[in-house]
Point group: C2
Chain length 388, copies 2
C-alpha cells in the first residue's frame, strides 16, 4: 500500500482523533488542513513559504492541470512534486467538482462527461479511467476518484442517480489504477438525503481504498444540514481509514469537522479571503482595508508567529491593499494559512492531551464566525471553481 | 555628515570606480543598482527576498507615499525603514519626475507645482521646501532635491528655464533641510544641450550636498545622446562625491554608465519587465511565455544562484505566466533583480582587479540588447510613472 494511516489518540467525548498519514513523500500529522494549489501553485506563495507556515500536504487540481499545462507536460518534467518544487505530500482532486460546475458547458452520460474548457472552449472528455490516467501522470501521493457532486438544492432522484454514477465511477477508477506509489481515495455523495448518505458511505467503505472522502457538502446548504449529513456518514466509514471532508476550511468548520471525526480538509478559503483583505484572528475576521487600521502599528495578531506578523504592521498591510500592491496578497495569504495550520496543530495537541472538548468550546466561544453575507461571498470559494 | 563616500579603486582605462557609500543604515558597495519600491514595496518582493538577492539599497517615491498613505502616516509608524521592514539604506526620489509627468494635470510656477492626484484627482502643491519636509517625514537615508525634468524633445529656452528652476529649487531644498541623519542630493538637468548640461553640473557641484544625481536622461532620446550628455556632465562633478544616474537600469546601460563614472543607478526595469515575462540572461532577454519553453526543464540560467533558478524550471515559470499566477511575477522579479545586482558585483570586482575594460567588452559582446520595440515598451518604465 502506498499510503498508511495510524491513529495515535482518539477523543473520549467527540469523534476527534489524532493520527499520522504516511505517504511516499513523508508523513503528515492529522487532523490536517491542505492549502489549495489549483494550478500547481498555492496562490502568491513559494514552496518554502508553505514549509515556513507548517503546511505539510497541499492539493492541486486535475481539471486545471489537465487543461494547462497538460498532465503529459507535468509528467515529462518529473511529475507535480518536481514541477512545483514541493517535495512533501500532494493530493490531486479529480476534477469532478470543477467539471460539474461548468453547468451548461458539459454533458454527462453514464461513462463520463464531455465538457468545454473554460480557457479556450475546446471540447474534452473525462471518464473515470481517463481522469485516473491523468492523475497518474501528475503523480500526486493521493488521487481522488472521479465523482459527480450534486448541486444544492437537488431532488432525490437526481441525488440518487449522481450517487450511483459516483459509485460506478469509483469502481472504474480503481480498475484503471496502475501506479503502486499512488493512493486512490473514494468519495461518498448522496446530496442532502440521510439514507443516500448512509448508502453511499457503506458502498465506498466497501471498496479497497486507503482513504475516504466526503464530497458534496458545504455547497450552499445550511450549516446544520452539513453537520447532519456528516454525522450520518461517518459511522459507516472504517475507523482505520483517514476521512477527508472536501472543500471545508473556515476555522469554525474545521473545529466542528474534527469533532465529527474528520482527519483531512482542503479549502481555498484562507488564500481566497486573504486576497480580499480578510485576515483570520482568534476572535474572527479582520478586514485590513478598514480605515481603523490606517495608523495601527500592531501586527495582525500579537501572538502570531508568521513572518507577516513578525515583520509588518496592520498599517503597512492596509497600505499595500489600498495601493493594490501584490505583496499585500502574499503577506495576507501567509498569515491566513499559518492561522489554519496552527489551529490544526492546536486541535491535534488537545486531542493528544485528552482536552479536545475543552479546546473546541473555548475556541468557538472566542471566535466570531463571518456574518451570513461574508459566508455567502466565500461559499463559492470553498472548493476551487473552474476559473482559478 | 550623514553620508560619506569612499573610493576604493578607479579604473585606468575608463571613468569607472569602485567605492563604498556609508549611510546611517550601513554601507552599500558601489557601483550599485537600487531596485525601485515606488509605494514602499519592491513589487512582489518581501524585504528578505531583496536581502537574499543581494540588494543593499532601495528607492521609494515621495510623490506616491505623500499621497498614499501620507508622509505623516509613515512618520507615525517609525519612518520608511520600519514601515516597510527594510533596515538597510533607502533613497527617496523627490517626486519631481512624477509630478511633471502628470502633464495636463499640473501647473508650474517659479515656487512650485500645483497638481492633481492620480488617485482621486485632489489638488496638492509641492514646493522645494514641502517636498523636503515630506522626505524628512519619510526618513530615508538619502533624499533628492525637487527638480524639473524637461521632456524630450524640448526647446532650448524651455530646457534652460527648467534647469534654472531646478537650481533654485535645489538651493531652496537645502535651506529647508533640518535632519542631520539624512543626506540631500542635488540633481543636474539641462535637457539635451551640452552647454546647459555643463552649466548645470557646475552649479549643482557647487552646492553643499554629499552626492549628485544626473536627471532628465533616458527620457526618449537616442542612446548616443544619453551618453554624450553624461560624458559632458561627469567632468564637472567632484570626484569624491557619489554620482547617481537616475532611471537607468538595462544591463547594457549599467555597464556603459559605470564606464562613464556613475556610481548609483535605479530603474523599475528589472521588476517591470519581469511582470511581462521578460527574463534577463547573459545573452539577452528571454520571454518566458514563448512556446519553446513549454517542456524546458532547465532553469532560466544554468549558473544563476537566485532562488528561482535554484528551484524551478522554465516550463514551470511559463506555466505560471500562462495561467496568470501571481507567483510567476514574483519568481521572475527575484531573478531579474538578482541578475542586475550580480552584474554590479561583477563590475565592482573587475574594477578592483583592474580588469573593468575587459569585463565591459566581454559582457557587451555576449549580451544582445532588447530590440527597439522592446526598448520603446520599457522606455516609459525607466522611472516610476505616476501610476505605479
Amino acid at each position: 500500500m502506498s499510503l498508511s494511516f495510524t491513529i495515535k489518540q482518539a477523543c473520549n467525548e467527540t469523534l476527534a482523533r489524532a493520527g499520522v498519514l504516511h505517504t511516499p513523500h513523508g508523513p503528515a500529522l492529522t487532523p490536517v488542513f491542505m492549502p489549495v494549489g489549483t494550478q500547481a501553485t498555492i496562490k502568491t506563495l513559494a514552496p518554502w513559504d508553505l514549509t515556513a507556515v507548517g503546511a505539510r500536504i497541499v492539493l492541486a487540481n486535475t481539471y486545471h492541470l489537465y487543461l494547462r499545462p497538460g498532465a503529459d507536460v507535468v509528467a515529462e518534467l518529473g511529475g507535480l512534486h518536481a514541477f512545483m518544487g514541493w517535495d512533501a505530500p500532494i493530493l490531486t482532486d479529480s476534477g469532478g467538482y470543477q467539471v460539474f460546475s461548468l453547468a451548461d458547458r458539459r454533458r454527462i452520460d453514464d461513462d463520463g462527461v464531455v465538457f468545454c474548457s473554460h480557457i479556450d472552449g475546446s471540447e474534452h472528455r473525462f471518464t473515470p479511467a481517463s481522469v485516473m490516467q491523468a492523475q497518474e501522470l501528475l503523480g500526486a501521493d493521493i488521487a481522488m476518484a472521479f465523482d459527480e457532486c450534486a448541486p444544492y438544492p437537488c431532488g432525490r432522484d437526481y441525488a440518487r442517480a449522481a450517487m450511483e454514477r459516483t459509485h460506478r465511477w469509483a469502481e472504474a477508477g480503481l480498475a484503471a489504477k496502475t501506479r503502486p506509489d499512488q493512493a486512490l481515495f473514494g468519495i461518498t455523495q448522496g446530496g442532502m438525503y440521510e439514507d443516500l448518505r448512509c448508502e453511499s458511505a457503506r458502498f465506498i467503505a466497501g471498496l479497497d481504498t486507503p482513504g475516504i472522502a466526503i464530497g458534496g457538502l458545504s455547497v450552499g446548504e445550511p450549516k446544520d444540514v452539513t453537520w447532519r449529513m456528516l454525522e450520518v456518514t461517518v459511522p459507516h466509514l472504517p475507523a482505520h481509514k483517514p476521512r477527508y471532508l472536501m472543500g471545508v476550511g473556515s476555522p469554525e468548520d474545521l473545529v466542528e469537522g474534527v469533532a465529527r471525526g474528520v482527519d483531512m480538509f482542503d479549502c481555498v478559503l484562507p488564500t481566497r479571503i486573504a486576497r480580499n483583505g480578510a485576515l483570520l484572528t482568534a476572535t474572527g475576521r479582520l478586514n485590513i482595508r478598514n480605515a481603523a487600521y490606517e495608523r495601527d502599528p500592531r501586527p495582525i495578531e500579537a501572538d502570531c508567529d508568521c513572518s507577516t506578523c513578525q515583520h509588518f504592521s496592520r498599517a503597512y498591510l492596509r497600505h499595500l491593499f489600498k495601493a493594490q500592491e501584490v505583496l499585500g496578497l502574499r503577506l495576507a495569504s501567509v498569515h491566513n494559512v499559518r492561522f489554519l495550520v496552527r489551529l490544526m496543530d492546536h486541535m491535534r495537541a488537545a486531542i493528544m492531551a485528552g482536552e479536545f472538548a475543552a479546546f473546541r468550546q473555548s475556541f468557538l466561544a472566542a471566535y466570531r464566525p463571518a456574518d451570513a453575507k461574508a459566508r455567502e461571498r466565500n461559499r463559492a470559494a470553498r472548493r476551487a471553481p473552474m476559473a482559478a
